[in-house]
């Protein structure tokens, strides 16, 4: 099952094209890092997925084909928007009461237990809480709905390091206990590197890279060697980024040891997720989209059958 699937999804705000022809398929059971520079289209993609915005063109479905924004979709998705919006004048208890009455499912016991563990008093007004407490309260309201898919838009931007850790621990416990699929957006990859096992890199309104982190790291290598030795391969291999500075050139190639054997005199290094993301951001024309292409084809075949 794909938790999010888009086909040629586009969204324009006036003359601004926020998302252009975005095709994507994210399988379930992952913690997805949705990363990209500011203004790349991350929030637009999330808003379309939740149904808070309508596509200008294309389609988006969630949790195995439910149209975004439809009742079955809404019931199984939880979304915490940027800056964790809460009604500031309501107490935690009132917010629990309201959320329980606005949703088909709400685990009151979980919510109260969780807030107790976090030391957040039920009688306190949301507006009087610290940023970390507000974020935890918003997250607790989202998780108490027992979603299958949790979407968090820049969840930790406002939090101090300790609050970040606690916030992330709460999310990870939900993954461990209930197997929730999670999509976290951020323009700071480092925040997500320790948790994410799936990467979606959005840049200039399109999906540039998508795939399992382990696969991406296994299929990308940096080759370092004499400039002449490395340059010969520029046209032949899938080179993401090359810096042919003398005397040593660096070249990030996509391919394993069999498709791109190490040239004589060169060294191959594995790379970190951050290096990979930076290399792709520097080369907007390069792309790595094994996941969606494969999955979209398979789905098309299934539909034909």
């Amino acid at each position: 099952m794909n938790v999010i699937e888009t086909h040629c999804l586009s969204k324009s705000y006036g003359s601004t094209r926020a998302l252009v022809d975005c095709t994507l398929a994210i399988p379930d059971g992952h913690i997805v890092a949705l990363v990209g520079p500011n203004g790349a289209g991350k929030s637009t993609l999330l808003n379309l997925t939740v149904g808070l915005a309508m596509p200008s063109a294309g389609e988006v479905t969630v949790l195995g084909g439910c149209p975004a924004g439809s009742l079955p979709a809404l019931d199984r998705i939880a979304f915490v928007a940027q800056d964790t919006p809460l009604f500031k004048n309501l107490s935690a208890a009132d917010l629990l009461h309201m959320t329980r009455n606005l949703n088909l499912r709400f685990d009151q016991g979980y919510a109260e237990r969780r807030l107790g563990e976090l030391g957040i008093p039920l009688g306190h007004k949301a507006g009087k809480m610290s940023g970390g407490q507000q974020a935890q309260l918003a997250l607790t309201l989202a998780l108490a709905r027992r979603p299958q898919l949790l979407l968090l838009d820049e969840p930790m931007a406002m939090l101090d390091p300790l609050a970040r850790h606690d916030f992330m621990a709460t999310v990870m416990m939900a993954v461990a206990d209930d197997g929730v699929s999670v999509v976290l957006s951020s323009h700071v990859l480092a925040e997500l590197e320790r948790v994410a096992d799936y990467l979606v890199l959005v840049s200039r309104g399109t999906v540039q890279v998508a795939g399992e982190v382990d696969d991406l790291l296994a299929t990308h290598r940096v080759l370092t060697g004499p400039t002449a030795g490395v340059e010969r391969y520029l046209g032949r291999w899938n080179v993401v980024h090359a810096s042919p500075a003398a005397p040593l050139a660096h070249m990030l190639v996509r391919g394993d040891a069999s498709s791109c054997p190490v040239p004589p005199g060169c060294k191959a290094h594995s790379l970190t997720l951050e290096e990979l993301v930076l290399a792709y951001l520097r080369e907007p024309s390069a792309g790595a989209l094994p996941g969606p292409a494969r999955s979209a084809r398979r789905d098309a075949k299934e539909r034909v059958r």
């Binding site: 990870m172 320790r194 948790v195």
Partner: protein
């Protein structure tokens, strides 16, 4: 046993957990029969992906070092031969004499580390290619 995570070390998180267990086995702080921390507890402590912990434990099982018992947890099954003390002393002594030679040749700490890392890399690479051939 408590796990720690070093970000930016370049070592994947799951591998860090595996290495810490192996390290503890070599030092004798973990022994057969000991239970590894429950996945949920590691997740709560480190705020990491539960799949990372499961993957580390699976890796330890594949290496025959640990075994998962359904409903109970993961337990240490075997131990790693600790490097014997006389062997370690000998290796240490030869490395110290190498460092004295290197210093005499004008290498500072950073140059030595760079050389060791580079040779280690070549050594692994050669061993790796021999393994394939």
């Amino acid at each position: 046993m408590e796990f720690r995570l070093h970000l930016g070390s370049g070592v994947p998180p799951y591998l860090q957990l595996v290495q810490q267990v192996e390290h503890a086995l070599r030092l004798g702080t973990l022994a057969p029969g000991d239970q590894l921390p429950k996945v949920r507890d590691v997740v709560a402590k480190l705020a990491i992906n539960p799949n990372t912990v499961s993957k580390a434990y699976r890796e330890l099982e594949l290496k025959g070092l640990a075994v998962g018992r359904p409903g109970q947890g993961t337990f240490i099954e075997a131990t790693l031969d600790p490097v014997s003390l006389p062997e370690l002393t000998k290796l240490r002594r030869s490395l110290t004499s190498w460092m004295a030679t290197a210093e005499a040749a004008g290498l500072d700490d950073h140059a030595m580390t760079a050389l060791i890392t580079s040779v280690q890399h070549d050594f692994r690479e050669r061993r790796g290619s021999e393994g394939v051939a």
